[in-house]
């Protein structure tokens, strides 16, 4: 009997003294393992008389339960301690800066073009494109620029050496995206409803001009599109693009060789604060040129101007991007300065979408 009591106190002592899981496990084996002390006591039971066995057995079972419980409690304590200790040892400085991940950017010109495409696509326009190196026919003649007319001098044209053969020998860098109108009308039957984004070139380099810039051109040809549609289309575009519902707009008569009547469109702005705010205000800001496609242009493309008519418009992409995003200097668009790209560029995932707003 005293054997059990002694063992109990001995094990209790050892369990309480165990400082780590390994020593605890050793105690468990010593007590409850195959050759453990309690196991040994249990084995003795068989040799005892039934009376004695009953009493002793109860004592040993109690001892076994006690010790098992003590072991479990101690195990929990030690395990918790061990985890705490491990975690303590694993402590790191969470203020250390993370590994930088290079941030890519979308150039404002691309973003602006994508925005414009989203708006015009919703009006049923598709996108057309054409070559940067053009010939005199597509860039001027077909667009009703008479030879030597001062209208040609409005475009400071970059020339390339004349081609050795072909009917349109004079090579140049397109001064506007309008030659794509010609290419489209010559290859496609009306109805036509296209926009044309692209690079354009003029020999001019100062504060407000760069030798390369981008335009977005639009062309609608069918049997019934008139100036009311021209106004509606462009007013809707400007309101959506600038995100200003109450945007004052104004159409002024103007002149382009390839449209008749021709107009320039102004939008309202406010310069009173020193900066420029698009929307209601005292000032007007010229935003684009437009007009009804000139009958001569239709004729030049083999389209009967007595049957078909429509409008065309064109705007500078950098210009509207500068206005919309407050970019002060045109020349910086083409420098590839990473600080500029980081600052004025757009996140790759920011894909323009009419539903999420532009």
């Amino acid at each position: 009997m005293s054997q059990v009591i002694q063992l109990k106190s001995e094990l209790e002592q050892r369990i309480n003294a165990a400082n780590d899981l390994d020593s605890l496990e050793k105690i468990r084996v010593d007590a409850l393992g195959k050759k453990g002390a309690i196991t040994a006591l249990m084995q003795n039971l068989g040799a005892m008389q039934p009376e004695e066995r009953k009493a002793f057995g109860a004592q040993v079972n109690e001892l076994k339960d006690n010790v098992t419980r003590l072991l479990e409690d101690r195990f929990k304590t030690l395990k918790a301690g061990a985890i705490t200790a491990r975690l303590k040892a694993e402590q790191q400085d969470m203020t250390l800066p993370v590994t930088p991940q290079a941030k890519g950017k979308i150039h404002p010109i691309s973003q602006t073009v994508d925005e414009m495409i989203a708006i015009f696509a919703d009006m049923g326009f598709t996108v057309a494109e054409g070559p940067d190196i053009e010939d005199d026919f597509h860039n001027f003649t077909a667009l009703n620029f008479p030879e030597a007319h001062p209208a040609r001098a409005m475009h400071d044209t970059f020339y390339l050496p004349d081609a050795t053969e072909g009917k349109d020998k004079k090579r140049l860098l397109r001064t506007h995206t309008s030659p794509v109108q010609i290419r489209t009308m010559m290859s496609q039957k009306p109805p036509i409803r296209i926009i044309i984004p692209g690079r354009t070139y003029r020999s001019d380099y100062d504060m407000t001009h760069t030798p390369m810039f981008h335009q977005l051109e639009g062309l609608v040809i069918d049997k019934s599109t008139h100036m009311g549609h021209l106004k509606g289309c462009l007013i809707d575009f400007c309101k959506t693009f600038f995100g200003v519902n109450e945007l004052p707009t104004r159409f002024r008569p103007s002149f382009f060789p390839f449209t008749e009547p021709s107009a320039e469109m102004d939008i309202g702005c406010d310069r009173s604060g020193g900066g420029l705010k698009i929307g209601a205000g005292k000032d007007w800001l010229e935003i684009l040129g437009c007009g009804m496609v000139h009958p001569n242009v239709l004729k030049n493309c083999g389209i009967d101007p007595d049957v078909y008519q429509g409008f065309a418009f064109g705007m500078g992409i950098e210009r509207v991007a500068m206005l919309k995003y407050g970019i002060p200097d045109l020349r910086t668009f083409f420098e590839g300065d990473t600080r500029w790209l980081d600052h004025y560029g757009f996140d790759a995932l920011e894909r323009p979408n009419l539903a999420t707003g532009l």
């Binding site: 950017k105 919703d122 209208a151 001098a153 609608v220 100036m227 509606g232 009547p261 590839g336 995932l349």
Partner: protein, 804 residues
Amino acid sequence: MKFTLSWLKDHLDTKASLNDIVLALTAIGLEVENVEDRGAMYAPFKTAKVVSAEKHPNADRLKVLMVDTDGSGKLTQVVCGAPNARAGMTGVFAPEGSYIPGLDTVLKKGVIRSVESCGMMVSEREMKLSDEHTGIIDLPDSTPVGVPMAQLFGLDDPVIEINLTPNRADCAGIRGIARDLAAKGLGTLKPLDATAVPAKFDTPIKVKIDCPEACPQFLGRLIKGVKNGPSPEWLQKRLKAIGLRPISTLVDITNYFTISLNRPLHVFDADKLKGNIVVRKAKDGESLDALNDKTYTLDASMTAVCDDSGVLGLGGIIGGNSTGCSDATQNVYIECAYFSPLHTALTGRKLQIHSDARYRFERGIDPAFLADGMELATKMVQELCGGEAGSVVNAGAEAAWKRTVAFDPARTEKLAGIHLSHQEQHHVLVTLGFTCDSHVIPWKVVPPSWRPDIEGSADLVEEITRIHGFDSIQPVSVTRDGTLTGVLSGDLKRRQDTRRVLAARGLKEAVTWSFMQSGQALPFESVAMNDNKRTELTLTNPISSEMDRMRPSILPNLLQAAQRNADKGFANAALFEIGPVFNGTSPDEQFFMAAGIRHLAMGDKHWSGAEASRAVSAYDAKADALAALEACGMPASKVQITNDAPAYYHPGRSATLRQGPVVLGWFGELHPSALEALDVKGPACGFEVFLARVPAPKKTGTAKPLLKPSPFQPVSRDFAFIVDAGVNADTIMKAASAAAKDLIERVDVFDVYAGKGIEAGKKSVAIAVILQPRDKTLTDAEIDGIGQSIVKAVGDKTGATLRA
């Protein structure tokens, strides 16, 4: 085109305010660029009399003036430092709160050394009249008090500047502008009195035209006994107000006619003329000492006005010094001619002469206004210079201008979307000077002689709607019918997708010039070029030699941009561009490429380890290039890699990406010599991808193929092979894959090693093969069998042995 309000009112009888006129001008297509309303600027300043001038009690150089500003006798106290300030003088007073233009400041009440000063007496400099600042303005004693300064100095005539579009030749004269405004309803056009001045004698200098196509008509007239000299003040003021320098009465008259009536004239000193006038083509090599003091060498395409001595002037462009009028001129010969727009433009452009005459003749002046113009000019010469007029010599005939446009008034509504009555349309046309037979439709409309720009019915619709006002056209929204499909061509969609993918990979999108320096372009030609081809792509009029050649590759511009960033202290640029490159000038030789570069290192040094700041490598460029191709629908696993990139790449660290014979692009480290030629410090890697060359997907529709995931676990087995150092990993991987095509899902290379423990000239390549059982779990024996066939296949293909 600049003019003053009073000058406009010479032609337009109107009660409209300046503001109404300005708004109307813009509304009818004569866009007002600027209005310099000096009257408004000077409105606060009026003449005032200094009644007393006492010494300032606390300052030796200052005086305290009592000023009568309005004649009421009520005096204003002003502290003044001008030495000429004195009692009794009349000057100009600026009240408190007025804006002083010369000081660019608003005047405030001040206390100067304890004496209150309410306004100031101003100097000419303070009023921005001149640089004079030695004293305040000192006017004659007779000047009344309270007269607005603008009126006194003749500054009350606002100057209006319009942006004249090249089609509106007629509005290069103030009368044309007045006519447009009258049509708009802002007044009536005043009549011109062009009554003929009777000839007192027969003009002896005759005219002969040898080139009627360039000069259809030429009128000449001699006026004897004139007195030249400075023109009257009113004329000088007008010319100065619009930025013209007065020269002498005769010359000022020609300028006056140019601006006022769009009728350029030329005046010869008749005594300097030798014989008769001949208008002919110049002879090659003839020269002209022109009125702008430049000498021009002429050729046979140019229209010359000549006498027996040779060329006197270039018709429609500029006169010559030899026969110019001076103060000594006593007999003047007036030229009033019509020169053709085309010839004028070509000559003007060839000689780069920009004159007021060229500007007008090349746009087309009124061919029916020669005789009247001559009479009006004669009258003005006689009024200002006296003299007796001879007969008008007429050579040639009025250039043809009459044409009839058939016009259906319904066209206005069809084209402009605005309904206007026949009556209103007719009225606009008639007030603009058109004759309009409206008895039957189509109307027979004859444009006036001064409107060479009117060609057809669309022009008439513009005339009617612009005068009526574009504002009244109701906007109609443009809406699409049907679904939103096919907005972007496949190529454009690829460019858009690729752009987003590359930006997501950490590259910043740049947009650089389509041109570059021709010398620097040479090493970056990826296709064989000869000098002819290079010349074809070189601008004949570049803006600078750094931008004279259409680029054969995007890389040089990006590399130079990266170097510029590094030079500014922002190293490690990673840039891309999707834009055109040029192998020739025909449309099919210009195509879009996606190109990108990574310069120097992947990033700055970082506590997390060396990977963050390691040098860029060809494999970074490879990853970028493959990502671009995948964005275009080309699975990276289908791309073949061959070792034949263009010479501007590192020969051992670059490759061509292809699909069979089709080159999809290149990637690699840049060749050190190529970098050096661009003044770029390496290392740098880059890629170029031909987006349009990726084959279009065959499938149509939106459904994706059904996913069939295998229910069985994949198994991975590793193999380490010893191969010759020259064996490509690709060959090993492909051989391994082919060993059990249906079961091998993927082969990865997880180690490449050469050095200690490996025989020289050999390397160890370790691959992991992932097997994906399809219809049952693989047994160990089956897996071993596959392993053996992989080892055999790789061995057969490359001579590899398993690493011991």
